[in-house]
């Protein structure tokens, strides 16, 4: 009886010892697993942080925005194509992208009205061109190429020819999402507007005002211009929900400014 009991006690003791050992082993294993999770996570996160840091540096160096650029001779407000007399009492700024269909519609709808004001000497129009829509031309950067071409024409042939070229670009506006006009077509239109082939071909092909174009878009973005067309009359944004409304509201804003 006592022998049996002693055996049972022995067995119980041995079992308890085994359980304790197993518990310790289990705890050590759990500790080891937690350590491994930490090490693996930290290693992966470290590598990823390094990748992000390198990528930010690379993207930053690819983005030349803000580097010095020389505006074309004849540009006003650094980035704008002027139409009208500098002394005109009212200034109308039009932010537009040559790939933007609504800008094309606005050009057509507002042309007669603006031309009249300009001819009377009442209004100076500043075409604030930008290149927000580069991704809408299958990688040919049409917005940039078109605006660069206007810069080249403005620089070499003066504001009148450049304004004519600007109008032709909207009359012959390519559909959004297509390649846009080729460099050759840009040259041909510029010649039709009155530019000399020899004076403009290289500048258009080499995008000699590309940095100017970039900086123009950057400034517009910093001035909270987030959609095109945007019209400012004497610095005051014209609010409208449709293109027709934008034309009428612009007309009214000009008249109000003239009456002041």
């Amino acid at each position: 009886m006592s022998k049996k009991q002693s055996n049972a006690t022995k067995q119980a003791n041995a079992q308890r010892a085994a359980e304790r050992a197993a518990a310790i082993r289990k705890e050590q294993e759990a500790k080891e697993r937690r350590r491994r999770v930490l090490v693996v996570s930290a290693a992966v996160i470290g590598v990823l942080a390094l990748i992000v840091a390198i990528a930010v540096a690379v993207q930053s160096s690819r983005d030349t925005t803000g580097e010095a650029s020389t505006p074309p001779a004849g540009a006003v407000d650094s980035y704008a194509l002027p139409y009208g007399q500098a002394a005109a009492p009212v200034t109308v700024e039009i932010y537009e992208d040559f790939m933007c269909p609504f800008c094309g519609q606005f050009e057509t709808a507002s042309q007669d009205m603006l031309t009249e004001y300009v001819d009377q000497g009442d209004v100076l129009v500043e075409y604030q061109m930008i290149s927000f829509l580069d991704r809408a031309s299958n990688g040919t950067d049409y917005s940039t190429r078109a605006m660069n071409a206007v810069g080249v024409v403005l620089d070499t042939s003066g504001p009148e020819v450049a304004k004519e070229f600007h109008d032709l670009l909207f009359v012959n506006q390519p559909a959004e999402g297509t390649d846009g006009l080729s460099d050759e077509q840009l040259v041909d239109l510029a010649i039709r507007a009155g530019a000399e082939r020899s004076a403009i071909t290289q500048g258009i092909e080499d995008r000699s005002f590309e940095q100017w174009v970039k900086n123009a878009s950057d400034r517009a973005s910093k001035d909270d211009i987030n959609s095109t067309p945007t019209v400012l009359v004497d610095g005051e944004k014209v609010e409208a929900t449709t293109i027709d409304e934008l034309v009428t509201e612009t007309d009214e804003a000009i008249q109000a400014a003239l009456e002041e």
Partner: protein, 167 residues
């Protein structure tokens, strides 16, 4: 912690695959969104600026970093590597985007979302798109939340490199 163990047999079979689906959907969206943005850093900066929420001093860095962070979160989720941490990051980004879009909407800004590239460009009827953009991000947020809750899924690198903490 782990999806296995106490669940009834049917649940045990389906639940892990919900996680795989969540990983692929959310990860796929991040990967595509990031890759589409990488080609044009200047555009990303403008897209971030258009929301008018961040100070100009950090706008460029955020614009440069966001696309690559999106690509990495996408890859981690698709591979199933550090699933819980990636899902937390994914959820935080989505909350930030939802706040950004809602704020633009509330303030009457007519901007392009810039979610898949673009941005800073013209946005006709932008406010008509905001609810859909928010709904999409909210759906992705729910899937990310699922992965934070149940990060262990089949077909994941985690199963090879990370031992389960409570097996």
């Amino acid at each position: 912690m782990s999806a296995t163990g106490v669940r009834p047999a049917a649940g045990r079979k389906i639940v892990p695959w919900v996680g795989v689906l969540a990983r692929l959907v959310v990860g796929g969206v991040w990967l595509v969104a990031g890759l589409l943005k990488i080609p044009d850093p200047a555009e990303n900066v403008r897209a971030v600026r258009a929301y008018q929420l961040l100070p100009e001093s950090i706008v460029p860095t955020v614009g440069y970093a966001l696309p690559i962070v999106e690509v990495l979160v996408g890859l981690l989720l698709i591979l199933g590597l550090l699933t819980r941490i990636s899902a937390v990051l994914s959820a935080l980004l989505l909350v930030a985007f939802i706040v950004g879009i809602a704020a633009a909407w509330a303030r009457g800004l007519e901007i392009e979302c810039g979610c898949f590239g673009g941005g800073g460009g013209p946005a006709e009827n932008a406010s008509a798109k905001y609810p859909w953009e928010i709904a999409r991000d909210f759906g992705l947020l729910l899937l990310s939340g699922w992965l934070v809750w149940r990060p262990r899924t089949p077909w994941a690198l985690d199963n090879r490199v990370l031992p389960t903490v409570n097996p």
